[in-house]
């Protein structure tokens, strides 16, 4: 496939070693080891409650891990405040429920962080915002408020908002699972376009078509562990683990 031609480099975007995390006494993430190269596109799937969200939220410090190391773009995540802000401005994140700021217009949503975090001059920030809004194909909505947009449009704004910070990694946590079927496609198309440009991406999603088309690697998680990871063709046609087989048979409806 043509999109697979993009070369992933040898530089590591994310390097997770022996990471463990607990909520109280509940062991959510167990011995996670994961390396993501720059430009690599990873899809994470697994049953509900398996810790997918928790894993990617650890990558931009929305959750703290208790054991092991996470290195993002060469910076180790620790409880040191300076690092956290640096990481967060390098890593964009899109949520299941979009989380746009309802009191700001679409344009203001997109310029807020560049202006206040990156100290970009307003005019420049607005130009960048318009560039990315055009990219996600809703420049005409710039003056509206999030409440006036459809779910699919809101999620595309959320993607544009993250891109305005010029992140080096994008994280997606089930970006299409709160959307109606006809809106899923428009969001997926945006994500595919982004993937084709070589953005490093980690997506939690159950859109297997998307995984087949763009992913370099599919990761299957269950009960806080990475059970299996493989290239998409191999992963779907020849799953090794029983739990993966069960999950795939459920989700693909066989």
């Amino acid at each position: 496939m043509e999109n697979k031609e993009i070369q992933t480099t040898d530089r590591l975007a994310v390097e997770i070693t022996d990471m463990n995390k607990w909520y109280g006494s509940f062991h959510v993430l167990v011995d996670i080891n994961l390396t993501v190269h720059e430009g690599e596109r990873i899809v994470i799937c697994g049953p509900s409650g398996s810790g997918k969200s928790t894993l990617i939220r650890c990558i931009n410090c929305l959750e703290e891990h208790q054991e092991g190391t996470i290195i993002v773009e060469g910076t180790e995540l620790s409880s040191d405040l300076k690092n956290i802000d640096r990481i967060r401005s390098e890593v964009g994140m899109c949520f299941q429920h979009f989380n746009l700021f309802p009191h700001l217009t679409i344009l203001e949503n997109c310029t807020l962080a560049p202006i206040w975090v990156r100290k970009t001059p307003r005019q420049e920030a607005e130009d960048t915002a318009m560039y990315f809004l055009e990219k996600v194909k809703i420049p005409e909505q710039a003056a509206k408020f999030p409440g006036q947009l459809s779910g699919g449009q809101q999620q595309r704004v959320a993607i544009a908002r993250s891109l305005c910070m010029r992140p080096r990694i994008m994280l997606f946590d089930e970006p299409t699972s709160a959307l109606d079927p006809e809106m899923i496609k428009e969001v997926l198309d945006t994500m595919i376009e982004l993937a084709e440009e070589g953005m490093t991406m980690l997506c939690v999603t159950h859109e297997m078509g998307f995984a087949r088309q763009v992913a370099d690697r599919v990761i299957f998680m269950d009960e806080g562990q990475i059970v299996e990871q493989n290239e998409p063709e191999e992963f779907f046609s020849n799953p090794q683990n029983d739990r993966t087989k069960l999950f795939l048979s459920q989700i693909l409806g066989h």
Binding site: L62, S89, V91, P102
Partner: protein, 424 residues
């Protein structure tokens, strides 16, 4: 195309409206008649009292005689003459009458200072005036040398310069500490000599000082009320944030403060302000009574506001905090730009209720001997000429309070409407 036809007759026009709203059921009809009866009774009793009145008299007896002469034996009319004779006192207390222009000017300037805060369409430059107004207002009301105020203001400028310089070199926290220390040292050691020096060189910027004891009436209520309102909102917001903070000590202090203040009647706090505080302060310190009252009222109102704002914070979905974090906004920026604008919008009705309550609570200061409008009505009634007069004074005081509070209430409705139409 469907052709539209007029609504059935029983739903339109005055008759339709009345049938639907006033007489829809038997119970509804009975209530309607009862209400009409009560309203009619009140109007018939009260309106003549208001109208068949006397505006010119110098004592209550003279007043009653004039009403009977004009409207016949047995008429009970209001004696508005007392308002006419004493309204200046009710407005200004015992403030020197040749200096009434000072509170008047202070009021006008206050409206100008508040305008850009209430109406964001006004030019943002006006906020500069709002920032210096507090000191200007204090100077106008209490008098003394304007240089004192200017040298106090200079402290903030010094603090700002220190902050900018040292935070660039050593980080925000160090900058903040240096600036605070710098301001305090400047105020303690340099501010007074500097202002005296400037005063001796340029002696013209001087207003005759007026003691706090001469403040009274609505001027006093407004001074306490407005200062309390303006300073309690930021304090309340900080307390609410502190209560939700991850820092355990900050959280404990905020909870302790809020629960303590809310658990104590305001009157107790005012007594503390008027008497007990003197015991704790070093002897000889002359800490202005009005200032002490303002501090107590502010703390009291801030504790309530903190809870109102906390409700607003709790109503925000967690995703808003997370999205702000994920974009790399630090704590204060995410609060200021994302969380508070939404939380405060939700809290507007509660916040304005607190403000109205605070404003009306300023009448409690009469208990510790300050002459607020209600305190003044007592002294007017103690006057031999007006002994026995009650209603007229209270009606007047109530009317003015109502105007203030109603204005606040209308403003809050305006604000809610404005914020609403622009988003949802």
């Amino acid at each position: 195309m469907l052709s539209s036809r007029p609504a059935p007759n029983r739903h339109v026009g005055l008759v339709g409206w009345a049938r639907e709203n006033l007489f829809s059921t038997w119970l509804n009809s009975i209530l309607t008649f009862l209400s009409v009866f009560v309203i009619g009774f009140v109007v018939i009793e009260v309106v003549p009292w208001i109208i068949q009145s006397s505006w010119t008299a110098t004592s209550l007896n003279e007043c009653r005689a004039a009403i009977i002469e004009a409207y016949g034996e047995g008429t009970h009319g209001a004696c508005w003459a007392v308002i006419r004779e004493r309204y200046l006192q009710l407005l200004y207390g015992f403030y020197p009458s040749d200096a009434y222009w000072r509170p008047n000017l202070a009021l006008v300037l206050m409206l100008i200072a508040i305008a850009p805060i209430l109406y964001p369409v006004l030019p943002r430059k006006m906020l500069l005036f709002s920032a210096v107004y507090p000191l200007l207002g204090i100077w106008l009301l209490w008098g003394g040398s304007l240089w004192t105020m200017i040298s106090i203001l200079l402290g903030f400028a010094i603090g700002y310069i220190l902050m900018a310089a040292s935070s660039r070199a050593f980080g925000t926290l160090t900058g903040l500490i240096t600036a605070t220390l710098g301001i305090i040292i400047y105020w303690i050691f340099a501010a007074v000599p500097l202002s005296e020096l400037l005063q001796s060189i340029f002696p013209r910027l001087w207003l005759e000082p007026v003691e706090s004891a001469r403040f009274g009436g609505f001027m006093l209520s407004t001074t306490i009320g407005v200062t309390g309102i303006v300073s309690s909102l930021p304090l309340g917001i900080l307390l609410a944030l502190g209560r939700k903070s991850d820092l355990l000590i900050v959280k404990a202090i905020c909870i302790g403060f809020i629960e303590f203040i809310r658990g104590v009647p305001l009157i107790t706090l005012l007594f503390v302000a008027s008497t007990l505080l003197n015991i704790f302060l070093p002897p000889g310190t002359n800490f202005d009574l009005i200032l002490r009252v303002i501090i107590m009222v502010t703390l009291f109102s801030a504790a309530y506001l903190a809870e109102v704002v906390r409700g607003g914070l709790a109503s925000l979905p967690r995703g808003q905090f997370e999205a702000a974090d994920a974009l790399g906004l630090d704590y204060w920026k995410s609060m200021r730009l994302v969380v508070l604008p939404q939380a405060l919008k939700v809290s507007i009705p509660g916040i304005v209720s607190s403000f109205i309550a605070l404003f009306k609570d300023t009448t409690l200061v009469s208990i510790i001997g300050l002459l607020d409008p209600l305190g003044l009505t007592n002294s007017i009634r103690a006057d031999a000429d007006w002994n026995g007069i009650i209603w007229e004074l209270y009606v007047f005081v109530a009317l003015i309070f109502f105007v203030f509070c109603f204005a606040m209430s209308r403003y809050s409705m305006y604000l809610e409407r404005k914020l609403k139409t622009s988003h949802d």
